[in-house]
Amino acid sequence: MTDHMISRRTLLAGTAAAGALSLTGFPARAEVQWKKYAGTKLEVILAKGPRGDNLQKYIKEFTELTGIQVESEQIPEQQQRQKAVIELASGKPSFDVIHLSYHVQKRQFEKGGWLADMSGYMKDPNLTAPDLVESDFSAAGLQYARNDKGQMLSLPWSVDYFILYYNKEMFQKKGVAVPKTFDEMVAAAEKLTDAKEGTFGFVGRGLRNANMTLWTNFFLNCGGEFLDGKGGILTDGPEAIEATKLYQTLLTKVAPPGVAGFNWMESMASFTQGRSAMWIDGVCWAPPLEDPAASRIVGKVGYTVVPAGPKGQYSATYGDGLGIAAASKNKEAAYLLCQWAVSKAQGARLLQAGGGVPFRNSILNDPEIQKGVKMPKEWLQSVIDSAKISKLGLPVIIPVAEFRDLVGAAITSTLAGADPAAELKKAHEQFRPILERSEKA
């Protein structure tokens, strides 16, 4: 754990070295005044998960560095989102720093004006270390963090790429090659399915709402775009119908029974029990798959990018970030915390444990940090390759939850035999007025 980790000490040494350089005649550069806000107390509201764990585990280092006291709590995702929205809407949130899910909350938070603009802080050398620059974040991260005016309203923290997990042993047994396209994937899944033995070629989210994250990856690879230029939704066009047909084929012909009710948890159970040969989901599941206490397929898991569709190859991308409440009275101190949380040292720890993937290219592509990754090399490679074909996995609109529920229900009902085109049409008749209302308000 300690071998390849960048500790606070090396980070400090680095900053000290930069300071020394400035003394020796290089252009003078102000240093981050970490201690300036010593004694401040910050409240942080986190969604439960490895990112929150990673922050809480090392928070003492931040307090040592800055003298800022941090009170943080982790709340299960759904409840955390509710609590945050209700408090922010009240204008008097109880927290300074918020952990937000971009793919659900970006547009809502921007429209509410709930987050403080960080652009100024990022240009202030007294507040920002020289290695933290906007261009270091991946394109998806910047798309998420910036608003229409180009202001940075949060710091991108951890990204979730969809990848293909496959069971190497099952592939070898049936002599099947790793699929590069959707057609190959369907063919491979058919060969790998043996209903008598209770093994299946493919598993993935079928549950309404959750299923949208998988479906949109099919949609993107079929050439789909979520919105037209005027903000109208396009997820019932020919690309959507094609994607739904693929989804329907995979989840009814070569997936375990009952998949219509599967979320990631049931899908993972089927995959780790060696009952399903392929699974497409977020990158962050490698740790449980490689944990002998939770998985029967340790060491047999292959990791690769999502196969190409007829019109392209993308990795549906989701992510979370850290923002500062616009109503906070300790914005500078809060900014220091956000900066520390996305720092190289913290990002390296997150990546190395497999608990998340930093949005910063300088972390992901650092060979020293890569050496310390405890997950299989293939996993890391799938992450790096996915970053190159990353595309946002959900439309950036306010009623994301309604979109996922309504269209997700339509897609689930195709698993019981309903016609994709008709179901999508019906769902969009319901969803379009909701989207229009949200944009008018």
Binding site: Q273, P399, A410, Q430, S438, A441
Partner: protein, 310 residues
């Protein structure tokens, strides 16, 4: 108030036994009144007010009159949710009533170990619904669950339980029934204990069988208790949330989405408080109507009971 008391003597002379005195109970009523106003009446009025507004978290609110109510019948998800609620409620009232009555009759008889077995029987009632739901979710799992294993032992094909739109509501009712049959049993047991033994003795002399005694003596006499049990079950089932939410979250698709789950989504996930409030108001009226119907039916059975006794 003191002015009023001074004008009363004339009236007091006219009817001394009905002398008007300022009510002295007010100070005692006030605390309860304040609590009731604050936690029941005010939230209700406020909910009705919200339901008349376009009220979305993060946007300004505007008064829209009955627009939210007009949306309801045109919202296919709401209409479906009403259907699911009625089906779910009907099944989870009837099944526990039938099984609970049967269990009560069994446990009313005297046999060794009765007390212990009664205790075992009411254990499901004591468990936390969410914990139960998580255990049942695993039991329902089509590949790894124990229920399909049990079916395979008796040669039946595996079922999809809560993972198929067609079987999800009956499967959820199974959990509800498992948990709440004991409650019905307890209520009916109380009823059975109150029945005199004489009618049975005379019926035996007249040569009545076990079924006849149950049908013509026991059942009419415990009917009022069945209505109470039914009403409690109905109110519980119609507002059931925890078991459904923890097991299916309204899925697959929206096949098990009841009004309550839809209401939760609208208000707390879509943050559409105005529309959510309109659903809450309609939902409340529905519960009141069902309770009133049950009360009315109970009144009628009470009447026949007295008539029959006389």
């Amino acid at each position: 108030m003191s002015g009023v008391t001074q004008t009363t003597p004339a009236a007091a002379e006219a009817a001394p036994e009905r002398e008007w005195r300022p009510p002295s109970y007010w100070p005692f009523v006030v605390p309860a009144l304040v609590v009731v106003l604050a936690v029941i009446v005010f939230p209700w009025l406020f909910t009705i007010w919200m339901s008349l507004n376009q009220w979305k978290v993060g946007s300004p609110t505007t008064f829209v009159g009955l627009a939210n109510y007009v949306r309801l019948p045109n919202d296919p998800r709401f209409v479906e949710a009403v259907g699911h609620t009625i089906l779910y409620t009907a099944l989870s009232v009837l099944l526990p009533l039938i099984l609970g009555t049967f269990a009560a009759v069994v446990f009313h008889a005297k046999f060794p170990g009765r007390g212990f077995l009664r205790g075992v029987f009411i254990m499901p009632m004591m468990a936390t619904p969410v914990a139960i739901a998580l255990v049942w979710t695993m039991m329902f799992h089509p590949q790894l669950g124990v229920l399909n294993y049990l079916l395979s032992l008796v040669g039946l094909p595996p079922q999809l339980w809560v993972f198929h739109p067609g079987t999800v509501i009956p499967s959820l009712v199974l959990v509800e029934t498992w948990q709440w049959t004991p409650l019905v049993m307890l209520i009916v047991l109380g009823g059975l204990a109150a029945i005199p033994t004489e009618p049975y003795e005379s019926a035996q002399i007249d040569g009545a069988g076990v079924w006849q005694m149950f049908r013509y003596i026991t059942l009419p006499l415990i009917t009022p208790f069945l209505f109470i049990a039914g009403m409690i079950r109905m109110i519980d089932a119609v507002k059931s949330f925890d078991i459904i939410f923890a097991i299916t979250q309204g899925g697959p698709g929206s096949a098990s989405e009841t009004i309550n789950l839809y209401l939760y989504s609208v208000a707390f996930i879509y943050y559409d408080l105005g529309y959510g409030s309109a659903i809450a108001v309609v939902f409340f009226l529905l519960i009141v109507a069902m309770a009133a119907m049950m009360l009315h039916m109970r009144q009628r059975t009470l009447w026949t009971e007295i008539g029959g006794g006389a």
